[in-house]
Amino acid sequence: MIDLFSDLFNDYTLRTVALGSALLGITAGSLGGFALLRRQSLLGDAISHAALPGIAIAFLITGSKAPLVLILGAGIAGWIGAALISIVTTRTRIKYDSALGIMLSVFFGFGLVLLTYIQRQPDANQAGLNSFLFGQAAALVEQDVFVIFVIGTLVLLFMMVFWKEFKLLSFDSDFIGTLGFPVRLLDHLLTTLFVIAIVIGLQTVGVVLMSAMIIAPGAAARQWTDRLGRMIILAGIFGAISGVGGAITSSLIPALPTGPTIVLIVSIIVMISLLFAPNRGLVFRKIRDWQAGKRLRVDAVLVDLYTLASQHASAEYPHSERVLDVMSTISGPARRTLKVLNDLELAKPIDSTHWSLTPEGVLRAERVIERQFGGGS
C-alpha cells in the first residue's frame, strides 16, 4: 500500500496514468450528471461510438497520432452523430431510441471498417489506434494528460459559468425559453461540452465502455443527495475514483484492459449507492417499510384491545389472544405484537393467554384512534 502511494508520486507512468484518469473521470462524471437528469444517458453511448470513425479519419488525413488531432476528429464525428440523432428524431417518425441505435451502429461499424483498413497499411505508424476500442491507460503520456487537463478544465469552467442556465434547461426547457434564453443555443452548448467530456476519455477507457463513465457516476451520486450542486460534485468524485482505481489496477497488471476495469469499479460504486444510500437506498427503504409495518401492527392490536375493552366497564379489561387473532386486520398472529406492546409497557399479560392495556396503552390507543378516525383530515 505504502509502495503504491510512493509510486503514485514518484513513478512517472503511474503518476501520469492516475492524473489523466482522474481528470477524465471528473469531467465525464460531472457532465454525465446533467445528461442523466436530461434523460440523455444513452446519448453518451451513441456519441462515444460515433467518435470512432472520427479518430480513424483524423489519422488518415494527418498521419498523426497527436492527442489533440485525434480528439478533434473524435469530437467532430461525435458531434455530427449527436446532431444527426436530433435531426432524425425531429424530422422523421423514427423515435429517439431507434435513432440512437441506428447512429451508434452505423458510425461504429464505419469506424471499425476504417480501423481495419488502416491496420492493413504497410505503415508501422498505425499501431495503437486499436486501443481506442477498449482503452489503454498505460499508453497515456504527459502530453495526453496535459491535453486532457486543459480541455477538461475548460469544459468544467463552462459548466460553472452557465450553471444557472443549464440547471433550468435540464429541469424545464420550455420555461427557460419563455424567459428569453435561447434554448436551442444552450442545448447545443451543453451537448458540445458533453461530446468533449466523452472524447477526452476515449483513449483511456475506449469507445465501447465510455458510456459507463458518463452514466454511472451520476446515477450513483443521485442516490446520496437531493441538491444538484452536491450531486454534480459527487459524480465528479466518483468518476475520479473509478478512473484512478481502474487505470492504476490495469497498469499494474499488464493483461488487464483499462476500460473494463474502470467500469467494474464504477459499477461497484453504483451498487453500493443503490443499496445503502440513505433515503433512496434499497436497504434503507426496506428498513423504513419494516418499521412502518411494525408500527402499524402495534397500533392495530392496540386499537383492537381498546375497542374490545370499551364494551366493558374498564378500558383495561383483559382479552384473550384468540379473539385478537380473529379481530386483527393485520396478518400474522397477535402474540408477537403483544410482546412488543409488553416491552413498550402499553399492554400486560394477565395470565398465559389473556392481555389487558396499561393506563399508558389506553392513552396511546385513544391518540391513535383520534389520529386515524377523528378530525377528518
Binding site: L37, R39, V161, F162, W163, K164, E165, K167, L168, S170, F171, D172, D174, F175, I176, G177, T178, L179, G180, F181, R222, T225, D226, R227, L228, M231
Partner: protein, 249 residues
C-alpha cells in the same frame, strides 16, 4: 383598443395536420379568461405558440400592443405540472427562484434579494412552510402551487396557465381561485386552459371555446351558450345540455 392579449390569424400545423386554424383572440386587460375545448382542440398549442415555444405557420401575437418577443418580461407562464420531472434534485425555494432567472440575465446567480421575493410568492400560495422541501416530496396540489409561485415571482402583466386545476386537491383549487381574483384586482390578465366546464361561470369573466378553430370568445354570459358548447364539443349533446342546465341555475 389596447388588448392585453391580441392573437390574429394564428395557424399551427404538425406536419400536414392543422392543430390551430386561423385563430383570433382578443382579451382586454384585467380579465380572467378560460380556454376550453375537447382533447386535441389545440388549447396547449395555443398557449405554447403564443409564447414562441411552438412555431406558428402564420399569425401574430401582440401583448399590450407589442410583439411577444419584446414583452417577455411582462408575460409569465405556468406549464402543465406533468411536463417536468419532479424527481429533479432541487427544492421548493429553488424552483420558485427560477422565475427570476430572466430578470437576472446571463451568469448572475440569485442572491438574498431573490430569495426574499421567492419567499413572498410562496406565502401567496400558502407554501411558505415548504421552502426547503425536496420537490418530489410534494403532493400534486403542492407542486401546482410551487409552479404558480414561480410565475407570480415574475411579476408579469399577463399570465398563461396550462391546466392549473388539473388533478389538484380542494385546498389548492381554492388557493388558485383566490390567486386569480387577486391578480384580477391588480389589473393583471390571466388566460387559463381549463377542463371543468361547470366552474367556468364561477371562476372566469371571459371564455374562449376552441376546437382547432375559434368557436367563440368573449364575456361568459354572452358566449358560454348551449349552442356554442354543442359546436365545440360536437356529438356529446346530452353531456353538454346537462352542463348548460347546470349553468342556468
Amino acid at each position: 383598443m389596447d388588448y392585453a392579449i391580441d392573437i390574429r390569424d394564428l395557424t399551427v400545423a404538425y406536419r400536414e395536420k392543422p392543430v390551430l386554424w386561423d385563430v383570433d383572440l382578443q382579451v382586454p386587460p384585467g380579465v380572467l379568461i378560460a380556454i376550453v375545448g375537447p382533447n386535441g382542440a389545440g388549447k396547449t398549442t395555443l398557449i405554447k405558440s403564443s409564447l414562441g415555444l411552438v412555431k406558428a405557420a402564420a399569425g401574430s401575437v401582440l401583448i399590450h400592443g407589442r410583439p411577444y418577443s419584446e414583452q417577455r418580461a411582462n408575460v409569465a407562464y405556468v406549464p402543465q405540472r406533468g411536463s417536468v420531472d419532479w424527481d429533479f434534485p432541487t427544492n421548493v425555494l429553488d424552483v420558485v427562484t427560477m422565475g427570476l432567472y430572466g430578470r437576472l440575465g446571463w451568469f448572475k446567480r440569485p442572491g438574498k434579494a431573490e430569495r426574499i421575493e421567492a419567499l413572498k410568492s410562496l406565502a401567496q400560495v400558502g407554501m411558505e412552510e415548504f421552502t426547503t422541501r425536496q420537490i418530489s416530496q410534494l403532493s400534486g396540489g403542492q407542486q401546482q402551487r410551487v409552479f404558480l409561485a414561480r410565475a407570480l415571482v415574475q411579476d408579469a402583466r399577463v399570465y398563461f396557465m396550462d391546466e392549473p386545476f388539473q388533478g389538484v386537491d380542494a385546498i389548492t383549487e381554492r388557493a388558485i381561485v383566490d390567486l386569480l381574483q387577486d391578480l384580477r384586482k391588480q389589473g393583471k390578465t390571466v388566460a387559463v386552459v381549463h377542463h371543468d366546464l361547470q366552474t367556468v361561470p364561477e371562476y372566469f369573466d371571459h371564455v374562449m371555446l376552441l376546437n382547432v378553430r375559434r368557436i367563440a370568445s368573449g364575456p361568459v354570459e354572452e358566449v358560454f351558450t348551449e349552442e356554442n358548447l354543442r359546436t365545440t364539443y360536437g356529438g356529446r349533446v346530452a353531456f353538454v345540455s346537462a352542463l348548460s342546465a347546470a349553468n342556468r341555475t
